[in-house]
Symmetry: D2
Subunit: 414 residues, 4 copies
């Protein structure tokens, strides 16, 4: 197993998060940047790689061997990942990184050749994609859903063969889709496949990518708020084939902090009375989420985390997302938290978060890939409930507080 590589096919390869993930991974492999914000390189996850844990990771990026041996008990090294994917935009990864301006130019130049070699395959859309994407040119030229599916399946098979890969993992980093209300066609895989054949309007591009994954025995990770993996037909199909699924909606910034602070309120026995959260984003993600239909799943995920952690619901919880151009890919949040302390006296906590969207998401995507690959090797298919730590809406589980979720993850790796 020692020299095997696996393929990572990303839906939305030229988006800010995907591109940062791809370039960042290469910077780590080449030891050109530190891996802060990524947890699978450190204790206790690091032991799973057969490497001694070290306290600080600041200097590690100059010290690690470039082609680590690994056995079945360890997480896969980053230098075994081969990236590709689909996008409606045809630029290569270097051009794309230059456009996003997230990673400093001096770093990008050092991996220019590598990035120029990564170029997306043509994507697919359906009527649930934002109009903006449906009108792009870098798309499979067919209106038949079945045809789109078949082309995606061929893409996976060809990518695997061409790169001599042991397996493929598909990661959905596409844009927010208009949500579909689950109906009969989503109840089982037979109905679902029939609906694809009949060009049914209840099929989204996300579902096509997920089905292409399952048909090729590839684990599927949904890092977005789309309800793709909530479709019973797909979840059941994966379980029956024992293919890992993980989702949904990566917990990167405001909600990550929120699930930590909610657990704080809980263990301190403070009574929450109100939590107001607002977000400023200036990137493409912000633009799409500002379209009411496309933002609603995200708002639902963001709003749903508090009650399960706290164990009660009698509080005001409001979440706003604003498209605000001066921020670019930087993400700002302001939270106001009101709670009661002893003898019912009110207090409050206000938080201003100045984060970076893709810089927060990138390492989580790599962590997820490694943990899902590990789960598959261990024979664990279906919804990966032990990965709740990473998601706003952890499928098959529910939010339990960031520290509790971290403890669950530790247990899994023991």
């Amino acid at each position: 197993m020692n020299n095997e590589k696996i393929g990572i096919l990303i839906v939305g390869l030229n988006g800010a998060t995907a591109n940062t993930t791809v370039a960042g991974c290469q910077l780590l492999v080449k030891k050109l940047a530190p891996d802060y914000g990524m947890i699978t390189n450190r204790s206790p996850f690091r032991q799973a790689q057969g490497v001694e844990a070290s306290a600080g990771s600041a200097l590690e990026f100059t010290e690690r061997p470039s082609r680590t041996a690994f056995t079945e008990h360890r997480l896969i090294p980053l230098d075994r990942l081969v990236f590709g994917g689909w996008d409606v935009n045809s630029q290569d990864a270097y051009q794309t990184a230059g456009r996003h301006q997230i990673i400093p130019l001096n770093l990008l130049q050092k991996i220019k050749k590598h990035l120029e070699g990564i170029r997306p395959m043509k994507g697919v859309t359906t009527s649930h994609d934002a109009g903006l994407f449906q009108s792009q040119k870098h798309l499979k030229q067919t209106n038949s859903l079945q045809k789109k599916l078949d082309l995606l399946v061929s893409d996976v098979i060809n990518f695997k063969k061409r790169n001599d890969l042991q397996k493929i993992i598909i990661v959905f980093l596409g844009s927010s889709l208009k949500p579909v209300r689950p109906g009969r066609i989503h109840e089982n895989i037979q109905n679902f496949k029939k609906a694809v054949r009949r060009n049914h309007p209840g099929i989204t591009s996300g579902m096509l990518y997920a089905l292409a994954a399952l048909e090729t025995n590839s684990p599927f990770i949904d890092f977005t708020a789309n309800n793709t993996l909530e479709i019973k037909a797909l979840a059941d199909y994966a379980r029956s084939k024992n293919i890992p699924l993980a989702g949904q909606d990566g917990k990167t910034g405001q909600t990550m902090i929120k699930t930590a602070l909610a657990q704080l309120l809980k263990i301190k026995n403070f009574k929450l009375t109100g939590w107001y959260s607002t977000n400023l984003l200036g990137n493409m993600d912000g633009q799409i989420l500002s379209l009411p239909e496309h933002g609603q799943e995200k708002l639902k995920d963001k709003s749903g985390v508090l009650a399960p952690i706290l164990g009660y619901e009698d509080f005001d919880h409001r979440v706003d997302i604003n498209y605000y151009t001066p921020r670019g890919d930087n993400k700002e949040a302001w939270d106001n938290i009101d709670f009661l302390g002893w003898l019912g006296q009110p207090m409050s906590l206000k938080i201003n978060w100045l984060g970076r969207d893709s810089i927060l998401a990138g390492p989580l995507v790599l962590d997820l890939i490694r943990l899902v690959e590990y789960a598959q090797r261990r024979g664990r298919g279906g919804l990966q409930t032990q990965l709740a730590f990473f998601f706003k809406n952890p499928l098959g589980s529910k939010p339990q507080g960031l520290f509790e979720e971290y403890r669950m993850l530790e247990q899994f790796l023991k």
Copy 2:
């Protein structure tokens, strides 16, 4: 054991925290206010009381029986606590509460009679107390340290006899003292007692109260930043007599949040580069802490929590405490946290905390009393390291992050 009561003697009985603790405990006993912010009434600590856990505690204050039976496996009910103590101010607890204006007047009126019955004994000071306190009238009238100690010991014995109590716990909520550099006299109890007899200038009022506790076999809790329990002579003496000690410096607001967020940085593998914390307080505590000599132990405790949790020290950590009269007993903090994320990209988090000093501290004092009483019944003397959750500078242990410390506490009660 079923009808026994225990005495709680508080040093600084008329201070804001002590007075709020005393009045608040009675409000809880009478079911007149909710117990938010207090953890020993809820799961998993509640089970230790033989009562079913309930998710929300909002309405509990109307439901609990007033004179709970308890056995040796349970935490002591609040209605078994009889409060008294020492202060340089002679007002009764009702007058004192009216002066502090922390608990609303309409609540205070309902327990007026009870509070009027609680009046402090005369206190003791030494040259390490702030000048302001040394000049008060409600003080033991002697310059002999030995005489002061003897009077404190008599106070404890008489209070216990007069109120027919099974035992006494002493809680230090006095003001910040000028710190003493430990020397030969502090090394063992023989030297220490000799120094008391010789009126040595290295003995503080805090040490006299602690010694009075040990001489009467009473557990001693130091909720302040004073280094009383860091004196080897006292810690060793307690261990040899198997008397519980707990301290030091109650973790109420900014530092409580800080130890939660530091653990967040740690599990997320973010690299801290700077943490700036400033505090605004307008109460007596703030006034004394603004005196440089009296503030330094507190600043040391506040500054010392990050490195043990994070495992590295290469960051800027600055903590300011400001006496600012518009705040009164309300406590405001502003924290600016700078850290590096993936690929070394900087991000930051800013926190504005609008808390209430005594409302935060009161329930912790009651929690500590119950947990120390329980430890003593279980035969656990010396430094109570399992109580790190409650302290900025947990003696015998070190800061490990709020959630980790909570987990330790859970283990202890299992």
Copy 3:
């Protein structure tokens, strides 16, 4: 003129702002509370009252004579104002103040008798009022707009006669109405009156109150965001009768600060790129504004202030209003301001405003009453453009920056 009194009839007399204005005025007359936040008691406006200016106003409330003489060159003393008005709620002003809990109870008790004597007349609504108000009982019992108007006119005449008043000023502090798109019926007073007679659906309750004012030669102040005074028929009619009108949308908190900071950006030549403003309100005003149709005029007023002050429009400006119950009448705002400095370098300023809605509005209402009364005595009818300082959307003028608007107001009084 020396002993004359004037009547102030407030629409929405039992709302938080109106009630606070009425009670607060009496507290000032009785010298029971300070007049901070009110400008007409201090220099340069104070001179207009024939009283020496004094630097601090902190102690003034114990020093002023209770029945000041005034001549035609001076602003009217507060003890000459007699309050009444309309509301859909029938409580007296004391009950109402107890419900709102804005003014401390110990102050209210000192003016209890006075407040118990103030009770609203029955109000009127139309289909543009929030459903919540249309279903109240304390309403004129008729569906005829003309009948409603006639009853309001009678109310004014009777109030004036009954209280022996020299004149009446009507202040609109009613709730936010669904906006009406101006049409033919709003173009001139003939059409408008005909529409009233025909029960036309384009007539709002605000317009009826305004017309009742004009028919009784009473100045009309609109402190709300409703577009009542933007109706050409009404504005022209007032001008033709030389009756003062002032509006609209009192500039109390966030927008007041915004127009000050916008002027700062302007004189410092910083280039604004984005301004995000969010509001948390927990009172009735917040509840009504959270209804989309009822909030839109307010959002328009809040959004419209920047471009006229700055002289350009190429920036992102977003304003949110959230109904958030933990706040009650307290109003919180968070603003994030992004701008470019020298050489195009970005900087930002973030503001967290913790205000009190009615405490901010009350003194402005009294200032406006005095300045409008003064204008009328000086023969200045129609839109009072010199009062831009007080309004988000100053009718007949446009926002020019708070300090510039203050300078205009000073000029007017010279």
Copy 4:
């Protein structure tokens, strides 16, 4: 006069502010960057340059003629300024800019040749300079104050001659000095010069530079908090020779905002009860100011602005400056403002300022140079009181609020 140039000699030429001023001026002359944050290019100051005012300045940097004609009624064009100065560091301006990393590299490269031509002369220090500076090598090699003075005077004369300049203006941007308590030697110029000759310890390097300015008839601008121009001997000497002086302590960020908001409190008649200001700086300026002796003049200037504007002093005002390395040249401030509104109800405003030190200071330095040059041409010597807008501690005047100070400046140019 049409082709004349003037020399600007800066003390501390390689500091962040001076270097940014020099490079930024060249970027403006070459129309490579916008002039936001600078006021003398816009109305009403622009008219003084014989150029039509324009609303937005965003695009101006591509449109202005490079070599503007100007007459005696106009402000001097930027392309007439020739920069030089002194520093204890010998790098050229290009190397220095690369080290400071304030102006983006791509902009610096376009003016590389120009910047490489600007290199400081050797500086002078005395025992009041921070030890760090006294030990540098790029210093005049003499211990005689008179010799240092003579060398500085020669530097001025030679620079003027060498560059064929019409006159010289000296700008002090050196570091914070230990303050000198004014004594007999500072009372008149005779005593002062005698003290220089006798190597008196009461003479600072700032005073030597100022005296060198006066001896060469050069206006002197002190942008720092040092009390150089408060020395009576120097101020009187300048007045007697009719040489303009301007100072002190440039009002760039937090204090600039503070003097605007204080004027807001004043015109709104809110009663200030407390203002807490803290600053985070990571540059050399922050490092020196963190030395207690070197920070005290700055703290005095920052603390002194409120009472003169408000007209009362009964409020808590605290100002902290913290050296905090994660910020670099970026400057962060947090202000908490407490005030009373109507009926004595408390409210507060909190401000988080994310500025850039040198980017804020640079344009003010250029504005001051132009306005001082203009004053000199108009025959106005001595302290330039009309420039209060620019200074925390405006010499010969006192803080009056930013908008009031702006109005004074407008009057001066009319």
